[in-house]
């Protein structure tokens, strides 16, 4: 249910501004609406500090605390974390460059610069040439020594000739003597490596301070919230006033609460006008609360005047997911993993999502038993059946059955959306338009069945002796006539006709779209069976990893299918037919924020 909101105005004396804000913060029920939103922003230095703290937390949270806990403040720990991280990035970059240079010096071996210098001082001046490998014999000098191969069918040759007149064949190139040597570079690399390790150890020590940094983060957020709140109102030397939104049932006692806090303030509340866009507070039914986790991931909020679809999603999504997964084994994975890791997930604030996955897993196990499929193996015999109740395989009649089931599920789902809209619109005449669309949808269901499944085999048979053409006609007529009720019948029909064609095509598309339930379920089953066939032809020691990798891949693909298809059928097809725009923003009352310890 979407909670009804009341618009509130609070006014007090200017000198009471801070106590008034404190009282409102303690009450924690007013979602402040800034008079001038562009002004209601935190101070830049607070925003920067929050960003830096978030990044430091990101770095330190992933580390296992080790070594003695440092005695530094949270702010200093954040600053030091940044410094170490920046230095580590620079050191890493220098180390990579050093390794490249060491690689580049490989042809010179471990010769040191001081050794070459000693030779020079002794009057021996070695020169280096790359020479085509088949012409090394043509090099003429007092001393010729082949050092090793070079790319491009060349070899590196060291030449000493006191007269400085060596002869080299055509195609040879003189290389300058190295200006640095590998031993020195290796020493430098070892020093940088030690720096990196020192930094990593210090970060591990700083990780002890994560809880304190979280508290600091909460303090900074409160500071930012306070600034935003104080800049949301408007005042002069006498008065200060704020506006905001409060759940309707809390509006009445707001004035009394401020009075109890010893603040003389005037409070006025009123219902939102048609032009107002109040924030959305969704109060989920207890059994649909797991959907909260999904909506958090999706980042969607219904508009204040739209529907709370959590209950509808809670019914449809597990059913769709079960059909998409179509395997009891995969369902067991969905069921057991979140149960095993429930505490850890709950500690990370993902309890609702874990509950949703458990429900999806349970439904998938049930559907998997109906299809008698366990990791792609037919388990009909284990279940005491001669064949699966519903087989998910490439046999044509089974595909036809699954396709029929999919479009039937679609017709039920979409017509439920229109009936819901009709219920809300009642007793306004628009409700007849929604009833019409619901009937039209069942006509479309009959048409899709005839086209796709040949039930009945020809369009002539579909048109003759079937209820569906009448549903199309009557439903279409209602949808057109009552789309925009008016006293002017011409205008009414004109507007209805203008809207109808695109919506009718959309309805056809939406109904056919549910065939994806069959397509994805079938694809998953086919892949599972293919992996099993692959494994069967292998010895047991190779079969186990092949089966594990194959089924793990299939489970991973099914997770994506749940989002790309299961969620989408709810978010797009169902929501569209329900008229959802998802145009809301969340109700976030001005309140004290507490640090999350985990």
């Amino acid at each position: 249910m979407i909670a009804r909101m009341a618009k509130v105005f609070v006014a007090g004396r200017s000198e009471d501004r801070d106590p008034l804000l404190e009282a409102l913060r303690d009450l924690g029920v007013v979602h402040l609406a800034a008079v001038e939103p562009a002004q209601a922003v935190p101070r830049p230095e607070t925003s920067d500090a929050i960003d830096r703290t978030d990044r430091a937390l990101q770095i330190l949270s992933g580390l296992e605390p080790a070594g003695p806990a440092p005695t530094v403040s949270a702010a200093d720990a954040v600053a030091e974390t940044f410094q170490i991280q920046r230095q580590a990035a620079e050191t890493q970059s220098r180390l990579t460059a050093l390794h490249r240079r060491i690689l580049h010096l490989e042809p010179w071996g471990d010769v040191r610069i001081d050794q070459i210098e000693s030779l020079r001082q002794a009057g021996v001046l070695p020169r280096f040439f790359t020479v085509p490998h088949n012409r090394v014999g043509e090099v003429r000098a007092e001393l010729v020594h082949v050092l090793g191969p070079r790319p491009g069918r060349q070899v590196l040759v060291a030449v000493v000739d006191r007269a400085q007149e060596p002869t080299v064949p055509e195609g040879s190139t003189e290389l300058p003597a190295p200006t640095e040597d590998r031993p020195a570079l290796r020493k430098e690399a070892a020093r940088l490596d030690a720096d990196l390790h020192r930094g990593a150890r210090r970060l591990a020590a700083l990780a002890h301070g994560v809880p304190a940094i979280r508290k600091e983060r909460a303090r900074l957020q409160s500071q930012a919230d306070w600034t935003v709140a104080s800049r949301s109102g408007r005042g002069d030397e006498h008065l200060y006033a704020l506006q905001g939104w409060v759940p309707e049932e809390r509006a009445a006692d707001l004035s009394a609460s401020l009075e109890a806090a010893g603040l003389p303030a005037a409070v006025r509340s009123m219902p939102p006008s048609d032009e107002d866009e109040p924030p959305t507070l969704v109060r989920y039914p207890w059994w649909a609360r797991p959907m909260e986790g999904l909506f958090k991931i999706l980042g969607t909020v219904p508009g204040y005047r739209e529907f709370d679809v959590s209950a509808a999603f809670m019914i449809a999504l597990p059913i769709f997911s079960a059909i998409l997964i179509s395997d009891a084994g995969y369902g067991l994975i969905y069921l057991l993993l979140p149960i095993l890791f429930y505490r850890r997930l709950a500690a990370r604030g993902a309890a609702a999502l874990a509950q949703l996955i458990i429900i999806i897993g349970a439904c998938s196990v049930v559907w998997g038993l109906v299809t008698a499929s366990l990791f792609g193996y037919d388990i009909s015999r284990w279940l005491g059946l001669s064949e699966p109740l519903i087989a998910v395989n490439m046999v044509k009649q089974n595909i036809d059955f699954l396709m029929h089931m999919s479009i039937l599920v679609g017709a039920i789902h979409l017509s439920a959306a229109h009936l819901w809209r009709a219920g809300v619109a009642f007793p306004r005449l628009e409700f007849l338009s929604e009833v019409g669309w619901s009937a039209f949808l069942w006509g479309i269901y009959g048409l899709v069945r005839a086209l796709l499944l040949k039930q009945p085999p020809t369009i002539a048979q579909f048109l003759d002796g079937n209820v569906y053409p009448y549903l199309l006609l009557v439903g279409g007529a209602l949808a057109i006539f009552f789309a925009a009720p008016s006293r002017n019948p011409l205008k009414m029909v004109g507007l209805g006709l203008a809207k109808f064609p695109l919506s009718a095509i959309g309805t056809f598309g939406d109904t056919v779209s549910y065939v994806r339930l069959m397509a994805i379920g079938l694809a998953g089953s086919t892949l599972a069976m293919a992996f099993n066939d692959m494994g069967r032809s292998l010895p047991w020691f190779a079969m186990i990893p092949v089966l594990m990798a194959g089924h793990a891949l299939n489970v991973a693909l099914s997770i994506i299918s749940l989002f790309a298809h299961g969620v989408r059928l709810n978010m797009l097809e169902f929501s569209n037919n329900l008229g959802m725009q998802w145009s809301g923003y969340p109700y976030e009352p001005f309140s004290k924020r507490l640090a999350k310890e985990n």
Partner: protein
Amino acid sequence: MDANVFLGQLGMGLAVGMAALGSSIGAGAAGMSAAGAWAKDAKAGKPLRFIYIICVAAPITQTVYGFIVMTQMAPHLAQAATNGGILFAIGLATGIGEMVSAWVQGLIGAAGCRMLSDSDGKGFAFVLIALGIAETVGIFTLVFMLILIGQIGG
């Protein structure tokens, strides 16, 4: 070999081959974008988001749709001497439909990864819907081609 039989066999290959090509290109485009978004997020000290994977993997299913059409075409190969032309047309139409659907879906996924990285993950539902719309073309291709295959049978 009879030219009609050859056309029928070619059609089966095209249905799944072109769909797989589109899936590969689409997943590749989205994958490159996701890698960039992960690198950007990591540099900014943000958590690495799983939701990019969904954008990358979305174009895979079109290959499966091509495969389903191919398997439904297979029984009609026995009459390929008379149906070779229509089998080829179905295979080609499936291949093109699925390939372009997967390719475009990958491009939407790539844009989605960039958008989600910039918006700190907000608006994922809308990316999902946009991905779904591109996929609907692939689903329609599958369904309409299955209808056509049914017509051959009847």
